[in-house]
């Protein structure tokens, strides 16, 4: 069941061409530093496209450009086949945006939903229907008569997301929508988005939480310092590591730096050792050999192993590696 409305069900990835198309987008706020530095990508209809990046990486600037809040300094951007500079309003009528910051009218929760629906021209009866459905779906029934500003952080976030579903849209931009939500509400939100995606909604989603990206996104882009480091499907990105495994290792008292340095030398090109204090993440094609080297070296150097696990690669590994090594996720050390 669609949360919001009875919008037409559109086939997923129907081959009708990209709904977002960006080519060499650059944007600067101060004419010295580029918040976006040559970003190119496309998003297909019905796709969930994730933007992963650190704080200040350029995610929100990109969202602002795609939602017509800012005009990129250079490059070509088309949303739903339209040019944001010349037809911003035509684009905005067909998109929904949940911004990162709080945004409420100074009224109750249900008042916020009602007014927002009215602003989008939703008829009164339909508005009431959607409002009730959304209040229930997002667990806001008990606080419907409280002022939105008086709610907890998580409740406020739920109101913001629920409010956006008061109207129909073709693309939904979610700028870190799950910040402050508990596990249950986070999953409710992600499932709600998934439901809408099945009905043809395209979603652009920024997050810090890589599990969420793994759960929701068809493709992700890792962005850092205004540049895309990687753009691919989640599965492909994980596959970039081939049969590689990740070893998480923590050593006890002793010279951890010297130990990890020596280990890196012993493993050579067959593994990547990324130390961080007394711990290190080791990516390797041959975990058996790596484990044997770790055991051997710890005995030789008298370093105690406190924690050691071997696991499959996650999207987080891909992300960390690409950001640290400037997009060379599959590269050697």
């Amino acid at each position: 069941m669609a949360i919001g409305s009875s919008a037409a069900v559109l086939p997923r990835n129907d081959g009708s061409g990209p709904v977002i198309s960006a080519e060499d987008i650059r944007h600067t706020y101060d004419r010295r530093h580029y918040a976006l530095d040559g970003v190119s990508f496309t998003v297909r209809r019905g796709e969930v496209f994730g933007l992963l990046g650190r704080n200040g990486a350029g995610k929100s600037t990109l969202i602002k450009a795609m939602t017509t809040l800012i005009t990129p300094t250079s490059g070509s951007l088309r949303i739903l086949g339209r040019d944001p500079v010349h037809d911003g309003q035509g684009i905005r009528r067909r998109i929904g945006v949940v911004q990162q910051g709080e945004s409420f009218d100074f009224t109750t929760v249900q008042g916020n939903l009602d007014i927002y629906g009215l602003l989008w021209g939703i008829p009164r009866a339909e508005r009431r229907l959607r409002r009730e459905r959304l209040l229930e779906r997002f667990g806001l029934g008990d606080v419907r008569k409280r002022r939105a500003f008086d709610l907890s952080g998580g409740q406020k976030r739920r109101v913001q997301v629920a409010r956006e579903f008061m109207h129909d849209m073709e693309i939904l931009f979610l700028d870190e929508p799950t910040v402050g939500l508990d596990v249950i509400m986070r999953r409710t939100l992600l499932d709600s988005v998934r439901d809408e995606v099945r009905r043809g909604l395209t979603v652009v989603f920024t997050t810090h939480n890589l599990e969420e990206a793994d759960y929701l996104c068809d493709r992700v882009a890792v962005i850092d310092e205004g540049r895309f480091l990687l753009v691919d499907t989640v599965e492909n990105l994980k596959r970039l590591y081939g049969g590689r495994k990740t070893i998480d290792l923590t050593v006890g008292d002793g010279d951890a730096d010297r130990f990890f340095s020596a280990l890196s030398g012993r493993l050579g090109d067959r593994a990547t050792v990324t130390p961080s204090g007394g711990s290190a993440v080791i990516l390797t094609d041959d975990p058996k050999e790596a484990l044997s080297r770790i055991a051997e070296l710890s005995q030789t150097m008298g370093v105690q192993l406190e924690w050691l696990t071997v696991r499959k690669n996650t999207l987080e590994d891909v992300f960390l590696r690409s950001v640290r090594h400037g997009g060379e996720a599959n590269g050697g050390p």
């Binding site: 309003q89 905005r92 945006v97 911004q99 709080e102 009218d105 100074f106 009224t107 007014i115 009215l118």
Partner: protein
Amino acid sequence: MRRTAVPNILRLIYRNVVVNTDPGSLIILIGLPAMYLVFFGYGFQSLAAAGGSSSVYLSYLAPGIMAFQVVMAGTVGGSMLWADRRWGMLSQLLVGPFTRLQYLLGIMLTSMLFGLGGASVMLAVAYVLIGTGPTQLLAFAVMYASITVGSIFFGALMLFISALVKSNTAYNSIQILLIFIVNFASTVFYPLSHRLPLALRILFEVNPLTYVANAVRGAYSGSLSAWDVYEMLILCAETAVILFLAVRSYMRSDVSFE
């Protein structure tokens, strides 16, 4: 203007009215001028009577307080823009189906509506207190036209200021200072006297609220002069200039709260 622009602006006006009509705002908007009318009206009327004046001060003050509504309406407009920036709704609305200009017009027209509504309430209060008032259609037309232009002027002025100012404290301080100066350096409460110091007299004479107060008073008392009409023409020209400046500064301003 496109077909959808009018409904968009009407929706924005509705939203502005609903969001800004909490009891606190209404008390300030309507209650404060009404209190001026009652306390100043009766208080200074006693003083005038003690001095042997036969004039009825309440009849003088009532149209002045109606004119004063344009300043109150202007502050409501500025506060709406400021609050929308402060609470994140400006950027949220601007990623919605509206243009910046529609949003701005929505605020301007809401201010105007508050100005006209407030002036009507003051007119009704004046009827009750004085027992009489204007009856001619032309008088009403002139009063409401003056209040409309005055509301647009002060609405645009406050929007101009709120688009430029970066802090809430600064905005509130400017607003309070401006209300005080505009209000008391005008003919809202007392006529312009030639015994005033020159600088103060100039301030009275260039104050747009003086033009509105004179026009409303002229229509209210049936003594509208050519000079009042001339002043209103000046006000129209000033309104066009300040409106242009407000639109320009707002269109260039950062929509996010800083």
